[in-house]
Each structure stands twice: as structure tokens, then as C-alpha cells.
Point group: C2
Chain length 459, copies 2
Amino acid sequence: MFDPVEKLKEFIRHPSISADSAAREGMRGAQEFVSNLLGSLGFTVEVVRTDVHPIVLAHRGGEASWPHVVIYGHYDVQPADPLNLWRTPAFEPTIIGNRIYGRGAADNKGPLLTNIAAVAKALEENPRLPLRITFLIEGEEEMGSPSFPVFLEKYAARLREADFVFLSDTALPNENQVVLTCGLRGLTLFDVHLTGAKGDLHSGLHGGVLRNPIQALAEILASLHTPDGRVNVPGFYDEVLDVHPWEREELRKLGTDEKAYADFLGIDAFYTTPGFNPFESARFQPTLEFNGIGGGYQGEGTKTVIPSKAFAKISCRLVPNQEPDVIKQKVMDAIRARVPKGIKLEFVDQHKGDPYVVVPPGRSNTPKDQSPVLAQAFRATEQAVGEVWGRPPLYLREGGSVPIIASIKQVTGLDSIMLGLFLPEDNLHAPNESFNLDVMRKGIETTRRILHSLAAGTR
Amino acid sequence: MFDPVEKLKEFIRHPSISADSAAREGMRGAQEFVSNLLGSLGFTVEVVRTDVHPIVLAHRGGEASWPHVVIYGHYDVQPADPLNLWRTPAFEPTIIGNRIYGRGAADNKGPLLTNIAAVAKALEENPRLPLRITFLIEGEEEMGSPSFPVFLEKYAARLREADFVFLSDTALPNENQVVLTCGLRGLTLFDVHLTGAKGDLHSGLHGGVLRNPIQALAEILASLHTPDGRVNVPGFYDEVLDVHPWEREELRKLGTDEKAYADFLGIDAFYTTPGFNPFESARFQPTLEFNGIGGGYQGEGTKTVIPSKAFAKISCRLVPNQEPDVIKQKVMDAIRARVPKGIKLEFVDQHKGDPYVVVPPGRSNTPKDQSPVLAQAFRATEQAVGEVWGRPPLYLREGGSVPIIASIKQVTGLDSIMLGLFLPEDNLHAPNESFNLDVMRKGIETTRRILHSLAAGTR
């Protein structure tokens, strides 16, 4: 059995920045690192070429009656800039106290290696472990997984043979409380472009004559929410699932603190969907958000123009069972209906992702046809977390989006168990990213127990 | 008497771009050109140093009973770029047909030289012309006349000795119709900055929790107009002067064409102050306009942030008797009252200028105490225009702003007679600027007649 911390250091040293075309060598190094590591554990490794960065697919087969888990992770990392804000070199792993510093330490190299080490340990303890395992490790997560849909379609049949997906790419609220993420928001994004006159105009000679596209844009954007904070688009909430009492109860157990949250954000008032506190609103309700706006003169001083053009970037976070294309159409229709005379409208489509929810066994809304292996895996996870961390996990939906989880569900029917392993203070996507080695140790022990427990349930 | 066209060529050859610090030699050349020209006509020339570019003050004195006209002009020009769009070199004057091409040909070197040539001719015809003349020729007009207020305060006493200001820095609607501009809009400008959270936030983790400053900005901007196109700020129209029937009548004589105007702008609907057609709205009504807007992510693709900040650049065009500071205060108060909870507001003040109006003699709203010399000058101008152009001038207010005209009025009490000499097709501030030499010839003759007529009225 390898030393997980030493292996993690080796992994971090490969600067695998997927978005940086100059980081080709680091990408190859990280890919080969995981391929070799899994090969050394007896896995059959396949490096699946894609248009951008390859996907590592590593398989341990077995009898058809054995449970089959797909363990997801990614070997790519965010860019490390601004480099001058790092206290230790971004790609020279450094241990200080119980933390290891380096880009990717927490997202996702540490958590991924935690699961690989747990597999290694379980197989060392029982080389004949009756469990089929497929590692699916991509290299484009930090750039939006552009090749994933194509891969998924191509490998759908093979993936459908598995029972569920297991991954650690979500958060722990604090060092003592494990969260199993059981829901993610989807999203749909597009840009709105408005055009008034055919060119920028002198605001003296022509001011008072025509509609300014910035004014039209402001009027349209302002119309998209009601004063009390709901999205003002016909049918926007039609497909939103009710929140079940047990979900609010889980959140209450988390011990949320509105004052501390407002201080963290630097605001003096929340603005939520009516009837939902901020913690609930971000998890259970959809949004329509403006990510950017631009038009006319934005420099120092003044330029007295009536601009010809203005635009806004819009995104909606979606909850089950909202469909991205349906919601986008409703929002676009609302905008189209509100464009005033004298203004031309154009949309630029951006990407999208479905929302996702999985209900653990024994809840009021657990599907009657839930797969027995998935239910068993949830119970095994609950039990292992309780033993290792001293308290049971919480099941929480999260406000963020991991579109591949919903894609996997749609294409293969597989649900995901998301065991969070990074902490708010781990500085993901920021300078001085780190990973807590106590969490790593506990994580390895948790996953090890889950694997044994799953295998023990084999008939 | 010099050849006006040859002199204009010489004038244009000096690249006097006031905003370009590399054009120092061109600025000095143009300044010395006018100084020497006026010196050669017997004027006492004073070059008044300022913080940026000097002002040429050239005086022809006489008896206190003689009328005293201040002739305004500017020797600086706009930058000439993009140079590749010029069909002839920008600073190599070129005559094609009845036009002279070159940067500054129409704004303002041609019209200014027209008036200088008229003075030269009148003085040649009558060296003892009983008329006091002061040329006031600045070099910062194209950069907003930053030194003018200081100059004005310092020379106020001397300027107050004059009777009125005469200038040609406004437009003719077409080659056959002279317009005397009798009103200009003022303006007030400022920026609005809104801040939500203390930094940009992940729109998944925090979306649905707080108010987006782009949304707040859109709501505020949208609130600043009523649906029918009036500015929705309490008291905004309080001081707006009524339009007199004769003013609408003058506009009707202009023969305006809404279809042609809409085509020129490239719009399919106008949006004016209710009760005013587009030509009236731009001249007689104030505006509140958005010159620029920005916030959040504006690049290609997407970035799912809730931005911390958003801003807009606002300008109001004002009509008599609106005061810039009063209007700015009213708009700022309205904005302040509409900022929602959770959003912080900041204003950045920009510049301002008063509106201006002068009423020709014999109108329903002509001031009872109008100066007899001003009234005489208006009549002389009307008569000269009628004789030279074959039809009387129209008196029109314009939508643009020339803040120095209102400043001169405020500080010295002097009104201005604005005889337009450039045409819409002269391409001011654009490549291939040109000046119509037939207009120049007629302009010289017009101003020559005005000067003789004024002098003839001397008791």
C-alpha cells in the first residue's frame, strides 16, 4: 500500500491546468500518474482520447452479481494565477501543520487520491473483494467538460452495467460534519443584445428622439423579477419540485447562522425567494441572475453618446424538474414580448446543464423503484460516516451545478453518491489552495469501510 | 485684401489637435497664424496664456459710442484618426469641385476665416468703419474649453464693454437655408456606482440569496422614465420654459421629414417627449440619457458570477431655465430614494453646462429690456441673409450644447448671434471633413453686410 500523502505530493507536482494550452506537459504528467497508479493496483486502464484532454477509464471486473461502482474524479486543475498571492509555490506541494498546500490539493487531487487510496487499502485487505470498480477520471472538469457528452454517448452501454457513481468533489461545511450532496442546480445561460440606432449618436443633436438601448435593456431586466424577489417570467416555477420537510430539517441540523452569512457576503440585507431563508433559497429555488452588462462608454470622464448597442449576460440556476431548454424558451419569450418599439433584439446561446436530485432511502419521497444496490450504498455510507466521524452525514441539496452528474443520470440511469471532502477554508479556485490531511485520513477510512460493506452485501 | 481660400489652406496645414500633446507645433502654428493675420489687419493682438492652450484676443478699438462686437472662434481641431479613411491627407488641404477637404475645414477654420475675411473686406472698404471689434479665438474648444471659465472671470470687465457676441460654429440644414441658432441645451453629467456583496460571488453557491447590483441598477434606471417617455424624476420639468408658437412655426418652415430622419438613424420608431415631434423634442425638451453601463463579466462565453459592482453613466440635456446643479440634485435624490436594501450607492460627479436661449427682436417673448445694439444686429443679420441667400434665416434652438455661450452670458451678460455655416455633409469630427466654398463666399458677403449695417446705425 502506497503512502497517500507522498502520492498526493507527486500528483500535485504535475501542473495540469486544462484551460492553459501551454500546460500540455503537466496535463500529460497528471494523466499518466493516475493511469500508472491504477494500473499498479491491477486495474485495466484505457486512456480515452477526446477532442481536448483524454479521459482515464480504469476497470476492475468480476462476476455479474457483484456490485459495480463508478468512481468519478478529475485530474485537471484551475489556473494558479495570481501567482504572487501564493505563500508557497503553487505546484510545489508544501505541508504546514495538518494541511498540504498546492493548486489542486482540494480540487480534486486530494479527494480523488483519498478514494484511490481507500480502494488500494480495501484490495490489499481483501484481494478477492467481490466488487466491480470503474474509475472515470476526466481532464476537462475545470473547463466545463466539453468532451464529456460525446464520451458519455459512446460509453453509455458499458456504464449502464454499473450500479451507481461515487465521487468526492463537493464540500464539507466544517471538519466535524460530513454532507452527502443529494441535489444540484442546473443552469441555462444566454446573452441578450439590443440595438437602437445604427451607430452611436450625439446625445445633444439626437437626444429626446429615440429609445436608448441601455434604457430598453434596463426596463427589460428590471421586469424579470417581482419586487418581492420572484422571477417574473410566465411559467418559470411550473416544474419546481416541492421541498420535503425532511430536507428543511437536515438544513436546520446544519446550524445555519444568517448574521454570519451576511457578514461573510458583506451585505446588510438578504433578497431571497419569498418563503425561503437564504440557505433554503440557494438550495431549493431557481434563480434568474445577471452575470454581466455592458453598453456605450465605460471609460474615465464622459462621452455624450446615445449608444447603438447594449447587452446583458443572463443565467438561470434551475432546480428539479425544470428543464434548461424549456426555461430558456420561457425567459426568451418574456424578453421578446417586452422589447419596445425602435429596438432590435438578438440572443446568443451559451451552455446549459440539467438539475439533479437523488433521494436517499427511507425518506417520504424516496422513489419506490430505487435500486437496491444504491440504497445499500447509501446505508453503507451513512454507517461508515457515523463510525469514522462520530456523527451521521447530512443530506443536503447544493446551489451549485455539476452538469455531468445529471448527464450521467440521463444517459446511463446511474445516480451519484457525493461524499464531500473539501472545506470552505480550502481556498478552491483561489491562491493558497490546501487540503486537510486529517480529512484525507478520515476520508480514506470512510471509503474503505463503504467498499467492504458493499462487498459484504454481495449475495 | 488677402485671398480667403489661400489663407484657409495655410490655416488647415497647421495640425492643431488640442487633445494631442504631440501636436504642440501645429497648435503654435495655428495660433501664430491667426495672431499674425489679425495683426496685419491692424488689430492689437494679445496672446493670453492659459494652463493648456493660449487664447488669442485681438482688438480694434474706437469711440465708446460705436457698437462693439466680439467675434468668437477656435483654432484647434479634432484628431484626424482613423487616417486610413481619408481620401486626401487630413492636413494637406485639397480642393475638389466647390469643396476644400482637410481636418478643421468646417470646424472651425473655414467659418472663422469667413468672418475674418469679412472684417478685412469691410475695413478695406471703410478703414474708418465706426465699429469696435474684438476677436476671441480659443484653442481648447475640441477638448471642452477647460481654461475658458478662468479666462472669462479674468477678462469679464473688458468683455462687458462689448454689446454682443457673433460666431459661426453651428450648422446650416442645407445649402439654401441659413439658420440662426437661438438656443442650446445645457447638460449635467454624473456616474452611478452600485455595490452589493464585497466581492464577486459564485452564482450557484450564493444565487437566490442577495440582490445583484446589475438588477438594482436596471430597476433604478428603468424607473427614471415613464412608459410614455417623460423623465420620471420629481420636479424635473418644473423650470422648463414653454415653447412659443413662433418657434414651432420656424421649425415647420424648415420642412422636416420624419421618414428621412428615421432612416438616417436606422430606427423604425421614435421615442420623444409626449406632445413633441422628434425635431421639437430634441430642441425644446430636456432628456435623461444613459451614455454607458457596465458591470460583471463582459467577455466571450460565460462566467457565472454575481458581480459585486455595476455602474452607469448618466447625462441630462437641459433647456432654459433648468439649472444643472438643481437638476442633478433632483435626479440624484430620486436615485438615492430608489436604491434597494442590500445595495450601496456612490455618485461620481462629472462636468456640466447651462442651457442658453436668446430671443430675436419682435417675438412674443422678446425681453422688454433687450439691448438696442443686439436687436439692431439681429435685424442686420436677417437683412443680410435675406439679400445674400435669397430667403430669410430661420431662428431655431438646437439640441446640442456649447457651454461657453451660456458662460459668457452669465459672466458678462452678452448674448450671442450664431450664424451657422457648416452643412450636415461636411463630416465634422469624421474623416474627409470638408467646407463648401460657395457657403464661404456667401458667408463672407453676409458678414460684410452685417458689419457695414451695424456701423451705419452708429449715431
